[in-house]
Structures are given as C-alpha cells and as structure tokens.
C-alpha cells in the first residue's frame, strides 16, 4: 500500500512539473525577445515531436528504429513537393505529409514484423537510406543535396511561428503521451518485454506492431512537414542518417519508453548544442563525447535517472 501512496504522490508531482514547463513555454515570448533563442525553441519543439514519435515505436513497442528520418524526410519532402510544384497551402501539405509518412510506416512495418534486434536496426536504417539515395539520383526534381528553396511559410510572424510550433508539440506530444499512458501503451510495453508472452495473453501483436509503425510515422511526418514550412526549405538533411541517430540519441538520453523523456532529451540536446556554439571548433566534439558519457553512466536516460533518484533523496 505504501507503493500506492508513492504512486499517487508521484503523479501529483508529475502533473505540477508538466504544468510549470507548459506555462514557461507558453509565456516565453513575453520575456525573451531574442529571435534566435525563439528560433532555437521552435526547433526544439519540432525535434521533440521527432523524438516522441520515435519513442512510441522504439521505446514502447521495442521495435528499435534506426531510420526514423524515413518518416521525417517523407513528410518533409511531401510538403516540399506539394507546395513547391503544386502550390498546395501549408496546412494541407502538413497533413498530407503525415499521411504519406504513415503509409511509409505501414510499408516498412510489414517486413519488419518478423525481424528483431540488430537486423531490425539494419532494415530500418537501410529503408531510410533508399530515399536519400533517390534524392541524389533524381536531383533535377529534388534539388539534390541543396534541396528546394522558396517553400511558403505558415506565418511570417516569428511569435506566430513559435506558438504554432508549441501547438504542434502540445497536440502531437499530448496525443502520443496519452497513447503511451493508456492500456494500448501498456500492451506495447508487454510486446517489448516478451512478444510471445503477449501473444499467449491473447494480444494480436502483429496488428499492434503495425499500427505503432503507422502512428509513429504519422507524427514524425507531420513534424517533418512542419519543419519544411519553418525553414522554407527542404533538403537531404531531413533524410540523413545523422538525423536518425540524433533522434535516437535524444530519446535514449532523455529516457526511452516514457514519451516525456525523449521530449526532454530533445530540449536538452538542442539547447546544449546551442550553448556550445561559443566554442565552435570543439563544439561537436564535446557534444558527441558528452553523449557517449551519458549513455555509459545513465543508461536509463537522464529523466528516469533524475526522477527516480530525486524521490530517493527525499525519503
């Protein structure tokens, strides 16, 4: 019963901390006027959705995806093409970007059903590298490495952009968190722990795994498409291995299987990256080295280590 009380108290503390963070984010533009800082937080919001969508698939259902950029880039390029070639307005492109990425999720999810572990990592990585190669091959349409410029913005006002990105984070992150917290999320965790055991409990694991691919892809695609309209540009960095790895790192550093952990990890690493901007020469050096250290010494991720460690201090 003591566990029960701890759980309840914990939940209250969690809600309070979410509330505080949410309030800070909402009120930020009132206090901070520096546009590049606002831009940074916009980026962090977008990356947070990348990471959160990754977490549902990899943290919850245990299908570790090393090619998340397939979905991000899929959404980004869909929005880019639709807007650049067909002048489709931004909101619609974003939604369609999500749909295309969801479809990609289904396409890649099916062959991935039967493979696990390193093979799954290889397959997802390979899947994301194919469109990257295609972008180079068909450079006349895609703009090659440079990409396409002149994509329409969602809004010209930077404060507007900020609140839209916040809206993206709250809605997408919120939905993903709700799924994770729900019974469906619990089922995903059981599939991660022991897929055969879940099957023996009457769960149609195939259906769950596929749907998770689709949902993960959808939200990543939406965020990727949003990114396109934020940068007014779509390029191969949205399909890169670097991006896939970055998303993985953000989520692992933040704490997989929690949705909130990856969101925190995205913020942490985006801001950390920015903080190092002063020492440009060794910036990425310190960045990557720090990541290695965090992975070695806080394997559960920063957020779980802190949230489990702190209550212990107060006992």
């Amino acid at each position: 019963m003591e566990e029960n009380k701890m759980q309840a108290g914990f939940r209250w503390e969690k809600c309070l901390s979410y509330g505080i963070v949410g309030a800070v984010l909402l009120l930020l533009p009132l206090f901070v006027k520096n546009p590049s800082f606002i831009d940074l937080v916009i980026l962090a919001n977008i990356y947070a959705v990348y990471a959160a969508s990754w977490d549902l698939l990899s943290g919850y259902s245990g299908q570790i995806n090393f090619g998340h950029s397939l979905f991000i880039g899929g959404g980004a390029y869909t929005a880019g093409f639709l807007n650049f070639y067909l002048q489709v307005p931004p909101v619609i492109t974003i939604f369609l970007g999500g749909l295309v990425a969801a479809l990609l999720g289904l396409i890649i999810g099916i062959p991935c059903l039967r493979i696990r572990g390193p093979y799954l990592a290889l397959a997802t990585f390979a899947a994301s590298a194919v469109p990257l190669g295609l972008a180079s091959v068909y450079w006349e349409y895609t703009g090659g490495d440079d990409g396409l410029y002149g994509i329409a913005p969602l809004t010209l006002n930077i404060t507007g952009k900020y609140y839209l990105s916040l809206f993206l984070l709250f809605v997408c992150g919120g939905i993903l968190l709700a799924i994770g917290r729900s019974k469906k999320g619990l089922i995903l965790k059981s599939i991660r722990e022991d897929e055969l055991g879940a099957m023996a409990s009457g769960i149609n694991t195939t259906r769950f795994k596929l749907i998770t691919f689709i949902v993960s892809g959808f939200f990543a695609g939406i965020a990727g498409a949003f990114y396109t309209h934020n940068q007014l540009h779509v390029g191969t960095e949205t399909l890169s291995l670097h991006l896939s790895i970055l998303v993985v790192i953000m989520s692992v550093v933040g704490g997989m299987g929690t949705i909130t952990g990856p969101i925190a990890g995205a913020f942490l690493l985006t801001i950390f990256n920015e903080m190092l901007r002063g020492i440009e020469e060794v910036r990425l050096l310190i960045y990557t080295l720090s990541v290695v250290f965090i992975l070695l010494f806080m394997p559960k991720g920063v957020l779980p280590t802190l949230t489990q460690g702190l209550p212990r201090l107060f006992r």
Binding site: I64, F66, P111, R114, I115, R116, G117, P118, Y119, A121, L122, A123, F125, A126, A127, A129, V130, G133, L134, S136, V137, E195, L241, H242, I245, V248, I249, V252, E281, V282, L284, L285, Y287, T288, L289, V291, V292, L295, L296, P299
Partner: protein
C-alpha cells in the same frame, strides 16, 4: 574489351575492401553477439593514420601500415573493454553508443584535419599491364593482392590454429566454450583486435584510391551491412561470397547507370534479404 578487364579488376578491388570490413564486422557479431557500428570508423581512422604517417610524416610505407594497424587495434580494444563491455546486455545500447562513438571520431578528424578530402600518394604509382591486355593502376592491384593475402591468412588462422578454433567454438556456443576452459573474454579481445586490424588494412590501402574523407565511415557502412546481411552474420564463407556479389553488382551498376544507384542497390538488397531470408546465405538464424 578494356572495359571488361577494368570491371573485373575494379569489382575485385571493391569486393576485397568490403570483404575485409565485413569479415571483421561479422566476426564481432558472430563471436561477441555485438553490432559494433564504430567498426567502419576504425577503417576511417586507419586511412587517416596512413595519411598522417606516410604522407605527412614521411614514414616508410611498411612502418606506417604497421603503426596504423597497431594503433587502430589498440583503439578497438579500448572500445571493447571500456565502452561496449558495460553495456553488453543490451544490444541496442551498444549500437547507439558505438554510433555516437563513430560520430565522435568523425568530429575529431574534422577538428584536426578539416572537412576536405586528403589525398595520399599511391604506394605503387605505375600502371601494370595486366595479362598484357589492359593497364590497371598498381595501387588497385596492390590493394587486391594485400587483401587476398590477408583473407587467406585469416582463413588459415580461424580454421587451422588453436586460437582460431577457440573463436569458432565461442561463436557457436559461448557457454560450452566457457565450460571447456576457453577464456571467452580474451577471445572477445582477440576478435576485436583482428577485426580492427582488418579494417585498418582496408583503410590504409584504399586511401590512395579514394582519398581520406571524414564521411568515409558513413558511405561505406550501407555496403558493409549489405555484405554482412547477404552473407549471413557470423559466417566467413558467406561474407566472402556476398562481398564478391555486392562488389561486382556495385561496379557493374556504377559503370552502366550511375554510382548513386550502386548504393541504392546495396540497400535494396539489404531490405529484400531481411524481409525474406534474414539469415542470409549462410548465417546464424535471425528470427527469434
């Protein structure tokens, strides 16, 4: 007709580089059960070490290669002991941290050498008249020769020596090997060292042809994966066969269509194999 010979040799060279890299990668997975994604970074470090020792510091070639191999092997052992071992329980943690490590190495290289390509003079500048029919540059032939020798030596080592048999034993059944008194930890280190040496050699000999670039670990990674997946993780014969297949397919596609397509072909092969026959031609079972 010249094209035919060129394709024959270029394909063989490509295959031999992939064979060296993939064999090492496959050994590590087959024996230690670990997917070490910093493996191709070792190849890159080997290339840059040759550039530093041979081109910049004017070391004699053999010495440069020797030091390159030793340093890379030392780095690999460090990685195995301090970075991989603590996380050995979770294969994806190992994948994540070794990828981060590869990025770190890339950054180190960019910091010290800058982002541009570095060129290394060929070890053997002359063109050799092959079979009296066509001229192929000596560097490529040298690479091929060295790779072939190394692979043959490796094959003998694995199949005919005591250590090699111990490696095979551990890769087949770790616990049984432990019971037989084989020091499994030492075998892991040995395997890491050998794989690293293979990667360093590959890097060292291909660098005059390709140049040393900070992204070289990334570009070669999909191809190595394709070879390893096609051949089957943990099988040396499978890896060699797959290296030949992939190396030649790539050269053929590059010659006929475009070099970008070569990379895509490798990726599509990976996807097809993983979808339909994850254990590849001759590898360990991949489905749980």
């Amino acid at each position: 007709m010249n094209i035919f010979w060129e394709i024959l040799v270029y394909g063989a060279v490509q295959s031999s580089v992939y064979a060296l890299l993939a064999t090492g990668f496959s050994l590590i997975f087959g024996v230690a059960g670990v997917v070490n994604l910093s493996h191709t970074a070792l190849y890159m470090i080997g290339a840059y070490l040759i550039y530093t020792l041979f081109s910049m510091l004017q070391f004699p070639l053999t010495l440069a290669v020797f030091f390159s191999v030793v340093i890379v092997a030392a780095i690999a052992l460090f990685i195995q002991h301090f970075i991989i071992r603590p996380l050995i329980d979770s294969h994806y943690s190992v994948m994540i941290i070794t990828t981060s490590l590869a990025l770190f190495f890339q950054q180190v290289i960019i910091t010290f050498y800058g982002p541009a390509d570095r060129n290394v003079k060929g070890f053997y500048e002359e063109k050799v008249a092959l079979f009296g029919v066509v001229d192929i540059d000596g560097q490529r032939l040298l690479t091929l020769g060295v790779a072939a020798v190394v692979i043959i030596l490796l094959w003998f080592f694995i199949n005919k020596t005591k250590f090699g048999k111990a490696i095979l034993a551990v890769s087949q059944n770790r616990e049984a090997a432990l019971f037989m008194g084989i020091e499994v930890k030492r075998i892991y280190l040995l395997v890491m060292g050998i794989s690293a040496a293979l990667a360093a050699i590959a890097g060292a000999f291909i660098v005059p042809t390709l140049g040393a670039r900070p992204h070289m670990w990334e570009t070669v990674l999909p191809r190595v994966f394709a070879v390893v997946v096609l051949g089957g993780l943990g099988s040396m014969e499978g890896t060699l066969l797959a290296a030949l297949i992939i190396g030649y397919i790539e050269v053929l596609v590059s010659f006929s269509i475009s070099s970008y397509f070569g990379e895509i072909i490798a990726l599509i092969i990976i996807l097809l194999i993983l979808s339909f026959r994850p254990s590849g031609l001759m590898g360990k079972r991949a489905e749980v």
